[in-house]
């Protein structure tokens, strides 16, 4: 086979849109061919990444979470010993409902009470009794509880559970009761287990599916990525959390609590072999693209306040410890 001349990127579908925007611009503005960007999930991407070194393995894995130790080990075992970690920014996670519906101002506690399998009422653990938002807190609208949350395959789910449900569990004080009654581990698990009576609907598809579900069930509230919401402001109405409206600015400032970092991992061993690899990485994190004024931010990426550090690390080809 002739030597591969285009960069191969794979991984998270959350990072995919940003990667394609960069790849497209990279192809247009340089003499290198446009990188091929696959989607398939962080897991599959990292797995391919750790398959080994050489032309028929990929160069970059996109991930919506940091690489795990077990994955680093697998990488190492396959000879992928030098990995550069690049954090490109943050993905904001927002709650949105049909544009014609009620306005919502949530707290994490509301979400816990609405979706947890068990809640604490009068100091006792009971199966979640709430059917309407107004039952949870009087100033919430009188509307059926129906939430479309990311399925367990999505990284977003983890963030949702940790930063919303678990936080709500703490906030309501349910966490204490759970740990007291069930012990440390089970108590924590009880905090994060969602009700299964159809009020909380898992979505294994993508945000377009969540949107379609909201359109066919207008009293539903969905969990979306910020960028998805920003592209569909004509159909969706976003809810505040703790009084903060999500936006790239509020998230970057740390005011809006629910977000997660996005990464990509570069196989340093391929730099020099695959033409344009280093250039692509540098191009990606350059201020013109990943900065707050760049197209990525315009699309909805919360740009990283520490972008400069990342740029230096990339220039130095700094690898992560394995």
């Amino acid at each position: 086979a002739a030597a591969r001349d285009q960069i191969q990127v794979s991984g998270s579908s959350t990072v995919l849109p940003y990667a394609t925007i960069v790849a497209e611009a990279f192809g247009e503005n340089t003499d290198f061919p446009t990188p091929v960007v696959e989607s398939g999930g962080s897991s599959a991407g990292l797995k391919k990444f750790c398959e080994g070194v050489g032309e028929n393995t990929i160069d970059i894995a996109n991930a919506s979470r940091p690489i795990k130790d077990s994955e680093k080990e697998a990488c190492k075992a396959a000879g992928v010993t030098e990995i550069m970690e690049v954090r490109i920014g943050y993905d904001g996670i927002v709650f949105a409902s049909d544009i014609n519906g009620n306005d919502f101002a949530f707290t994490a506690a509301d979400w816990f009470n609405a979706l947890a399998a068990e809640v604490v009422q009068d100091g006792k653990i009971v199966a979640n009794p709430y059917t309407k938002w107004s039952e949870i807190r009087a100033d919430l609208p009188d509307q059926e509880i129906l939430a479309f949350v990311p399925g367990t395959k999505h990284g977003t789910r983890e963030v949702f559970e940790e930063k919303v449900i678990a936080a709500g569990c703490e906030e309501t004080g349910a966490a204490e009761v759970f740990t007291a009654e069930k012990g440390e581990d089970d108590g924590e698990a009880a905090c994060m287990s969602l009700r299964t009576d159809g009020k909380s609907v898992d979505i294994d598809g993508d945000y377009t599916e969540t949107l379609a579900r909201i359109q066919s069930a207008p009293n539903g509230i969905g969990v979306f990525g910020l960028s998805f919401y920003e592209n569909n402001t004509d159909k969706l109405k976003v809810a505040t959390i703790g009084g903060i409206t999500p936006s790239t600015e509020t998230i970057a400032k740390g005011e809006y609590p629910v977000s997660r970092p996005l990464f990509f991992y570069v196989k340093k061993q391929h730099i020099g072999t695959i033409p344009g690899l280093k250039e692509y990485v540098e191009f990606f994190v350059s201020d013109e693209l990943a900065g707050p004024e760049g197209p990525l931010a315009a699309y909805g990426l919360v740009s990283d306040p520490e972008l400069a550090a990342t740029q230096t690390a990339v220039a130095d080809e700094a690898t992560i410890a394995q």
Binding site: E161, R213, A217
Partner: protein, 396 residues
């Protein structure tokens, strides 16, 4: 890609070899082909096969097993083999050479090779999943996997990964899908082959086949946007069976529509192939057309029809998109057909394409699910084989 050029060259060579040996055979027979053991074209084919088969075979195997080898070397060897084949074929061409037998033996071997690809594929599938399945069972108890009734993977570990709810969902959805597609498909096939005019059949059949070609995502959206809400508003809510927009019923119905052509087109061909004399026999005894069809034609066509239904069932088991959008992603075991459920296949896909740690049981479970599903369908197929054997009616 020199290898692909090699293939083209070898093919051209065998074409030339065909022509050369064929005319040589005729010449050797002094123009009277009756003196030849076989028809001249068999001599030609013999040469073509001798040139092409070893060369292409070696190229393919070599390229596949030792991909690192220099393509030039492979090409050289292939061309040498092709040349040797040509020389050999020419020397062997003689009037009393049993060319037909030689060709048929080779062709038979090739046919055998074709059917062994199925075995190789199976072996490949099992092998490619066995390893990871092993990893999974090292990290997760097999009793909980096979007998667990909860499916709830978590990122942080501590997941419940019981297959039973998925298995139940798979069966439930497939049964509904077949309950839709088999009667519709079979009746459509019967109508097309027994009642419809040639014109209607020639239009209806390809039209129905388009259903098989519509990407499943379209069906998925159809389920999500049209059928799901419709079932919810017209059936589930009035009947007090819940208010879920996605349900087993939605996915089953929509999948059933997709599967219609699998049943109808294949069955139609098989029914059409039942000899007319059998129909005449039944009609001559005063049976109505429908009696003829039910009592004589269908039993005679049974193996083919069962094959078609099995194919439809297989597709139902293997379908992802429609289930994701139609039935939801919730793994639960219930009898209410208006509740959301999910299938093994969906979870294989979602665990493989998700964001979990690829070495964690939450991802590896996909392989275990795949292998388990494989074993279950194998069992079902064995049963089907015996049932067909038992009821097969061989005509003539």
């Amino acid at each position: 890609m020199p290898v692909s050029w090699t293939i083209l060259i070898v093919l051209a060579l065998s074409g030339l070899g065909y022509l050369a040996t064929r005319s040589r055979a005729v010449r050797l027979a002094g123009g009277d082909i009756r003196k030849l053991h076989s028809r001249p074209s068999y001599y030609g084919w013999n040469a073509a096969l001798l040139i092409g088969v070893p060369a292409l075979f070696v190229t393919a195997i070599w390229r596949f097993l030792w991909p690192a080898t220099s393509p030039a070397l492979i090409s050289a060897v292939a061309l040498i083999l092709a040349a040797a084949g040509l020389a050999f074929a020419l020397t062997r061409t003689a009037p009393d050479f049993r060319a037909r037998n030689a060709v048929e033996t080779t062709v038979k071997a090739l046919l055998m090779l074709c059917s062994s690809i199925a075995i190789l594929t199976t072996a490949g599938i099992v092998l490619s999943m066995l390893f990871e399945t092993g990893h999974f069972f090292q990290q997760y108890s097999w009793t909980e996997f096979f007998f667990g009734t909860t499916w709830s993977p978590r990122f942080g570990g501590g997941s419940d990964l019981g297959i039973l709810p998925l298995l139940w969902g798979t069966l439930y959805i497939s049964v509904i899908a077949l309950a839709v597609s088999v009667p519709i498909g079979l009746f459509a096939a019967i109508y097309m082959s027994e009642y419809a005019s040639g014109r209607m059949r020639s239009i209806a059949k390809p039209m129905i086949e388009v259903l098989a070609g519509i990407p499943t995502i379209v069906y998925g959206l159809f389920a999500l946007i049209t059928v799901g809400p419709m079932l919810r508003d017209w059936f589930a809510q009035p009947l007090g069976l819940g208010s879920s927009g996605s349900s087993v019923m939605t996915a089953g119905l929509v999948m059933g529509i997709m599967l219609i052509p699998f049943v109808s087109s294949l069955s139609d061909d098989i029914i059409n192939a039942v000899p007319q004399s059998l129909r005449d026999g039944a009609l001559g005894l005063g049976s109505t057309r429908s009696e003829t069809i039910r009592k004589v034609v269908l039993p005679a066509a049974l193996p083919g029809i069962v094959g078609a239904i099995l194919l439809a069932a297989s597709r139902a088991i293997g379908e992802t998109m429609i289930v994701v959008m139609g039935a939801g992603a919730a793994a639960q075991m219930g009898l209410n057909p208006f509740e959301a459920m999910t299938t093994i296949t969906v979870k294989i896909v979602s665990q493989l394409t998700g964001d979990t740690d690829f070495a964690a049981p939450e991802t590896l479970v996909a392989f275990a699910l795949g292998l388990t599903l494989f074993t279950i369908t194998l069992g079902l197929n064995i049963v089907a084989l015996y049932v067909v054997r038992k009821y097969r009616e061989q005509y003539e």
